[in-house]
Chain length 335, copies 4
Amino acid sequence: MTRVGIIGASGYAAADLMRLLLGHPGAEIVALADLPDKCGPLARLFPQFAGRLDIRITPADAEALADGCEVVFLALPHTASMTYAGPLLEAGARVIDFSADYRLKTPGLYEKVYATPPDEANLADAVYGLPELYRDEIRPAQLIANPGCYPTGVILGLAPLVREGLIDTHDIIVDAKSGASGAGRTPKLLTHYPECNESLQAYAIGAHRHQPEIAEQLSYLAGTGVDVLFVPHLAPMDRGIESTIYAKPLQDLTRERLAELYHAAYDAEPFVVVRDEPPATKHIAGTNYVHVFPTLAGGRVVVSAVVDNLTKGAAGQALQNMNLMFGHDETAGLR
Amino acid sequence: MTRVGIIGASGYAAADLMRLLLGHPGAEIVALADLPDKCGPLARLFPQFAGRLDIRITPADAEALADGCEVVFLALPHTASMTYAGPLLEAGARVIDFSADYRLKTPGLYEKVYATPPDEANLADAVYGLPELYRDEIRPAQLIANPGCYPTGVILGLAPLVREGLIDTHDIIVDAKSGASGAGRTPKLLTHYPECNESLQAYAIGAHRHQPEIAEQLSYLAGTGVDVLFVPHLAPMDRGIESTIYAKPLQDLTRERLAELYHAAYDAEPFVVVRDEPPATKHIAGTNYVHVFPTLAGGRVVVSAVVDNLTKGAAGQALQNMNLMFGHDETAGLR
Amino acid sequence: MTRVGIIGASGYAAADLMRLLLGHPGAEIVALADLPDKCGPLARLFPQFAGRLDIRITPADAEALADGCEVVFLALPHTASMTYAGPLLEAGARVIDFSADYRLKTPGLYEKVYATPPDEANLADAVYGLPELYRDEIRPAQLIANPGCYPTGVILGLAPLVREGLIDTHDIIVDAKSGASGAGRTPKLLTHYPECNESLQAYAIGAHRHQPEIAEQLSYLAGTGVDVLFVPHLAPMDRGIESTIYAKPLQDLTRERLAELYHAAYDAEPFVVVRDEPPATKHIAGTNYVHVFPTLAGGRVVVSAVVDNLTKGAAGQALQNMNLMFGHDETAGLR
Amino acid sequence: MTRVGIIGASGYAAADLMRLLLGHPGAEIVALADLPDKCGPLARLFPQFAGRLDIRITPADAEALADGCEVVFLALPHTASMTYAGPLLEAGARVIDFSADYRLKTPGLYEKVYATPPDEANLADAVYGLPELYRDEIRPAQLIANPGCYPTGVILGLAPLVREGLIDTHDIIVDAKSGASGAGRTPKLLTHYPECNESLQAYAIGAHRHQPEIAEQLSYLAGTGVDVLFVPHLAPMDRGIESTIYAKPLQDLTRERLAELYHAAYDAEPFVVVRDEPPATKHIAGTNYVHVFPTLAGGRVVVSAVVDNLTKGAAGQALQNMNLMFGHDETAGLR
């Protein structure tokens, strides 16, 4: 049994990870930690675990956690993660970080986006935890930078095109729509029920922090710089992201050719399904699946990709990474 | 008092029109008509009118309607409208049609899109009922082609740019998200609550019938051909459409210049508000307002426009047209 | 034109009142006030008023408000209202209070429920603003205690039975379900979208502050003490309250007799509709209507009553009261 | 591996069962069947199974199913189930029926409620599949009558009180609120998104078919007749039922005594959690758990019980029954 600890246990991504771990045949949750004011019995904070997971959240102590756990998930906001990752690694635990702290490798980029210098000491060894792209690097990794929710769907939606050089990498538009759990569990006006319900709006147009992550990862695949105009929207639902991606083809493409390309890229993947009609977020809600539908319209390649922001976009993907790192079946706990 | 009749009284757009007419100081509903199996007391069909509007829906009879009404609204699907418009006009009533039957003027286009020949006899005299563009033509019109819900927001969102020749008219992408009432009142799986709730999906990618309407209207404004890639989405809410529009500027633009352009275009308009941040559909739900927010991002002009699909996108705009046609204050019943 | 001021302009009930006043032919909003940190242009706080109501919220000053306004609505929480009502009345304004501060007349009851002594000086003259019961007292009143949202539907749902002595006044159960706007605009975990959406729960079982208000009002109608077990629930919707009321008949009743009783009580009322099947909250959403459906089942009278918590349950009823007080048509601005 | 077949594979309860079976370590789905017009690849009907369950739905053939399956789940409407149960049993399969066909044992009751004579031949041997009450009878059973969604929560919510004779069995009121998936997958106006969303209403007041099931089961526990007034409501959410139960105590009870009683009844149960505050349906959404909260208010015992209508109210409970019948851990596939 892989012994698991979670820091930041009071958030939605952590709760989704617990839900998944309860069904994992080879892992057990041994410690939950968070800030002192969020400690106490788990079921007090998340009543859905009453009778299912009888455990207390305790103050985070890296050394103690590393002592009892083989792997520690950091379900923390950016800049908070980096205060724990180093000590945990030093004390011998492997770390899977949900934040952006170890995602951006381009020198200076993290600081530019997050206004804080990165943890240079550990950044170099961190592996971007998108199994469909980096499965071999993930297996032996000590530190995983778990991808952002938006980037997961967008990168997988574009990878076959970018890798083959089929589209203009300077003319990509992504129009994404996310459910409200992506904004976290702290109450705020934007996600106050009577404001958010029955409403849809764009936000952070061209200025969302996931844009540099998407562009950097796509540039690795392209072997050249990639520009992406990324426009997120808040949609009135709990979970799920739909990303509609618009790209300009560099050569004549047909729908058949596109379908072949995506099937070739993904048919062996356990969690990516190539669809032949536009997918709905409900089709993947609560699961680790990505559904992608590529087509042609108006002279563009149009790809619709859906992921669950908390599962494949955070906790499920983290568990997929853990499975790879610890030799479990990659799909354990995720079917 | 302007005497009003409605054919197609059993649908959502008709119900929204009745809601608005109840608050109109200078109009009264004198007749509601529909197919025989949809006749009966209005409050049986729409309980929200119990105690407010005590009237029966009766079988549609053009001559009788024209006899009692100065204006008849056709809240009917395409091809159904054209069977009523001619007889009503001949019998002396003015007609405001919610369907697509009189919107497309380009020869052959209606038949191509709707697989039926148009009503040529009346098509030429029909006026496209978008007051912000055609106010003077609307006033004396006998037959109004009320714009589609998607086109209303998209055309108003793009008009200032297209009119001034500021964008490449062959590189326009519109990513629109609509609430479920846009699909009408007939139950179907797509809008069955447990399917549609908590879900968002693209549909009719590049193949929606509102695309030719948008392109034709924009080409009139541009004085040249316009291509639009239009991708609609179904969002889990009752009402509202958010359209995020992506266009390539032909010259250097700044956000300030954009704001000025839109304010110049719309500040005198009673129902168009230029916002300085992205609008939410909730801000215009149930109203005849359009909120638009133009900005620049990633080398593109990005415009977010929101309208209520039933009000400014159908019934409200129809009433605005009626106000113009009959000399009422343009905003009567719409504030 | 009746000149209107509102204190507490930053809340949902105030916003609903503004929406209604915009359509009122004989009233105008001349002043909006709130706490200093909530001041500023109205459209900054409530973008739905952009282009419709160009006014600033300013710090509340009773004397200045009384100077410019004939009536001031207090859209404030309990205990806050009583700090403004006295000074406003003294300065010559009439006051319609949305809070509980002037609703409870039984000596000691207000202090018991709200842990603060009431404003005895003005309490005696306050009129409970339920027009269907107290129309004649409302007309000349200087101070109106506008009823609570839950009590409005429950009292109207029970009044015909209680007045006629047809039910056991010590065996009444009310199971009520409210939309989330009833909890106000301050973000909190209970109404955080990902918590509240897709969820329904009971709260404050037998301990809600509206219970004493319901019991007191019903006891006036009954001429004897009334016990009510009141259990509210939070439902995943913006607006609306459905109250299912269970009462034990004291004599043999039939459904026909019940229907007659309710029709006799309400058919002359402009805003109460007696239905012949269970009403849905959507039938009255955004309106000042109450729909009631009385029936018999399992040896009980069962009444389902629906109201919009913000309109008939707050702002609409307040406006109905204003109409009565200032000689407007009772339904002005409310159709 | 227990070989499983499902007839009625096109409905929501069947889909929920498939979801659960995918995570069951000791069972496999070998056949899915339905009416001829609902046959085809499963993922065409339910895209959420694309890539997870590659199987076709084929026309139902009892003999063939019994040949390949040890157990067949009948996810069918009442009266349809009884045409399959007999032949399946005869051919050697064990049967778990989701419909009401084998639930009512009182002579004449089934026919009275469902207007069809029951399958007398098999009714006598059918076991009511509520494990918390009939675990020992379920283990050897050949035919399980899986409880209704409403009855599951209500019976478990009342069982401790009724068994101990603590309440008046002729004065029980149940006010229940259900999500829309309870109405099935066939589109109809009541559950059409723009009708059902943002709305709550009572229906079938005192006349719902689950009332006799509740009363019969409670009378077995009470050893005497039980009357229940049952009033269901439709709430705007996908899943979940909250039942608020009102009962008159026959002796002095305290909240402490109630809590003890419920803990004694349920602490050993794997899927029933006794809460110390009102539970939300979200706490049990998608799970096989029941949360119950008993309290006292206004002289009544008030119990709030929540279940997921599709899981503990149908598919999850059915799987729990299968686990008992085939010697699996009772919680297999359900944690």
